[in-house]
Subunit: 417 residues, 2 copies
DNA sequence: ATTAATAGTTCAGCCGTTGAACTTAGACGT
DNA sequence: ACGTCTAAGTTCAACGGCTGAACTATTAAT
């Protein structure tokens, strides 16, 4: 929704600060003059804004030299690497991951702590999350970098307005008020932006957007990022901005009915995509894993075994992945007909399976997406691995700062000076 | 996308003008003082902005009296009924409709001209559209009301960036540059806002939003409006704003695959919703119409026959509509899992069938929408009939003016003064 | 008639942006 | 080595829009 608030002079500053910072982020090393030319702002304005951004340690000068040709050489500007960092946590089904990224998106610290979270109660896991976060905050302190905010990725429906986790089937959680719980527990060290909770698939999409630079994956700033794991989720990016849906529950493509009379899914419905193309079932169908679904997860190595067999040409594995590709194509055709986002990024474990998923997937998309008559649906493979969600959680903090730096500028200007 | 343009003082005016105008639109009869209190702007600012809006004839004073109690009585403000009007045209499969609405959304003139457009070539239909538009413009002139812009509703994929109609299966058209064609043909009488082409389902959703007041249907400003006719389309409204998708092709729920191995649809794919729950097929299955699909359309009265039989309790009709309701539920479950818009408005011919569609539809939604565990999906019936699309086309013109009046204010201030 | 209360206007002041003039700093040519 | 040229960045008066306080206008209540 458009903000229904009055606009004053400070609104201009805010808007233009964001504009300038975005220019710096989009083209590291730009000069003030180039920003002025690119944005349409006057040189004087850009200088004034840049000074403030430098004072807040969001932007840094790369040094006074940057030879171009004739005339006074320009002073390059970049996002400050000593500015506020984003701290990301992912509460996975069988691990806890953290990472720290700077304003440019570069990874500074990454930790992975295995351990089945389904075996523990929500409070147990939460106190572990708090310990892990405190450790990460300490680590940032020893590294000498300030933490701007914390992003928390969870595999479930997160209410955007409140930060409550409403439903996490794979964790077996319901109605956990993650946002305020973590905020109060960390009240003594709460970073400026606070704690933002979100869905892992949405964060993964954000990481993809970040990783692939300002142009986005495949040169697109609009894409569907599919996180294919045990459960299948999607994150949407429209015009370079995440689309969270009304309440934040968008992207649950794992529960699109692709075969209305098909097998029963864990959610109780019949023929959900999760049940027909989820990693667990692909592995069962391929015969690379014989665990019962939902009881214990296939270990990460099983994916490697599957890929190996696929490479060798194993018929059963190939058949299983082809079938999954077709079902995925049907679900994505539904999603694209609904949303009109003609680029698909295969992420998570699907990235590794892309060579074998691609053809059956594209075949379904070509016949079933109405707008494919007006231009093909592009399918690309994610550049990021399984750490996409954590990185996205951390990056979302940083993205929020870049999208609206002014609050941070005035807040940061006081203690800095 | 967020606009990457610099913000100056004029941007403030623009934003705040829209803010004030929206306040007037949302609560007809408000005083300047109430607007100031409601928006947070200073009284002086509101006065200044209102004066400009009155000068541009977007706002009118209702007369200097409006007794409240003690103190100086307030001067009520409303949207001007003599201000710019929106002219809407709908190119239906077997009719051409026009209408004229004022800033408040009230219908001033409405014409319906039957005639099968599939029998004619696109240029033939276009010249007829131009004649019809010229007639409507003359009529507006004799009524003494200015026309602010023209909205054109078409049953097909319209490229938002260019106004080109890329594909209209039910008309048999491909790649018709409606926008620029109409603009040049009407160049001598082109209204300020020009010509905007859009999908009929999107416009219908916009009409629904308008009709149901600032709160939206069912008190929601987020909903999926389903236009159920021969083809099934949907328009999405998120936060009170239409969601057009990346290229403007969103909402093609008629081609969601609901039964991957089902019957072949006109688009070539198998088991599309159109083929299983489109009006033509409901009528065939119900036995109220025996025309061959796609050859000639069932006349409008057939719907009345169907409704009559349903009311009488005819088993075959009820069975056919129940089946359609289930398929529709499956498709909408997919859409809602993707988009997270938990309110469905049944529009078009589906509005008349709502009593019989409702139960099977809701049953599917309850089991198949993952987030239904966090709150039920609401299903309501549209207040508007089949004229929703034309009205939406006209209303979209007016909505654009209200959303960004400033361009109109400065443009209108010159010739007015 | 006086007082109280509310609506709307006027005006000096503040703030951010702007464009022009100015300063800075290196490259090129002789 | 020196002056000239070019482009980057800064300074400053001016402009436009918002604001709060003071002021006027208009009605009800005492």
């Amino acid at each position: 929704m458009v903000e229904p608030s009055p606009a004053g002079q400070h609104t201009l500053r805010r808007h233009n600060s964001a504009l300038v910072l975005r220019a710096v982020a989009g083209e590291p090393g730009v000069s003030r003059a180039a920003i002025a030319a690119g944005t349409g702002l006057a040189k004087a304005t850009v200088s004034s804004l840049v000074d403030r951004l430098i004072a807040a340690d969001l932007v840094a000068e790369t040094g006074p030299v940057a030879r171009t040709g004739r005339g006074r050489p320009s002073t390059g500007l970049t996002l400050s690497t000593t500015g506020p960092h984003g701290l990301g946590v992912e509460i996975g089904v069988d691990y806890l991951a953290t990472c720290l990224v700077d304003l440019t998106g570069r990874l500074h610290a990454h930790r992975m702590r295995p351990g089945d979270n389904r075996a523990r109660s929500a409070p147990q896991v939460l106190s572990r999350v708090i310990r892990v976060l405190r450790a990460a905050l300490r680590e940032a302190e020893t590294l000498g970098v300030p933490v701007g905010g914390i992003g928390v990725a969870v595999p479930g429906l997160v209410e955007a307005s409140t930060g409550r986790l409403r439903l996490a089937p794979n964790l077996g959680w319901r109605d956990v008020d993650l946002g305020s719980h973590l905020s109060t527990a960390l009240a003594d060290r709460l970073p400026p932006t606070g704690v933002v909770v979100g869905n892992e698939a949405d964060f993964a999409a954000e990481a993809e957007l970040w990783q692939s630079g300002p142009a986005g994956p495949g040169g697109q700033r609009d894409f569907v990022h599919v996180s294919g794991e045990i459960g299948i989720g999607a994150g949407f990016v429209v015009g370079g901005v995440p689309f969270p849906g009304v309440r934040g529950f968008s992207g649950e493509i794992g529960h699109i009915p692709v075969d209305p009379n098909g097998p029963v899914c864990g959610c109780g419905a019949r023929g959900c995509l999760d049940r027909l193309a989820g990693l667990e079932w692909i592995m069962r169908d391929a015969g690379v894993w014989d665990g019962r679904p939902g009881v214990a997860r296939p270990p990460a190595e099983v994916l490697d075994v599957l890929v190996e067999r696929l490479t060798e040409g194993d018929t059963r594995s190939r058949w299983a992945v082809r079938a999954a590709g077709r079902w995925l194509g049907i679900a994505l055709a539904a999603a694209i007909n609904v949303l009109d986002i003609p680029t698909v990024v295969l992420g998570g474990s699907y990235a590794a399976l892309e060579p074998w998923l691609r053809d059956p997937l594209c075949a379904e998309l070509d016949t079933r997406v109405l707008s494919s008559a007006c231009g093909p649906v592009t399918v690309v493979r994610s550049a990021l691995g399984r750490e996409a969600a954590v990185r996205g959680a951390a990056a979302s903090v940083v993205r929020a700062i870049i999208a609206d730096p002014d609050a941070f500028v005035v807040a940061g200007a006081d203690p800095a000076g």
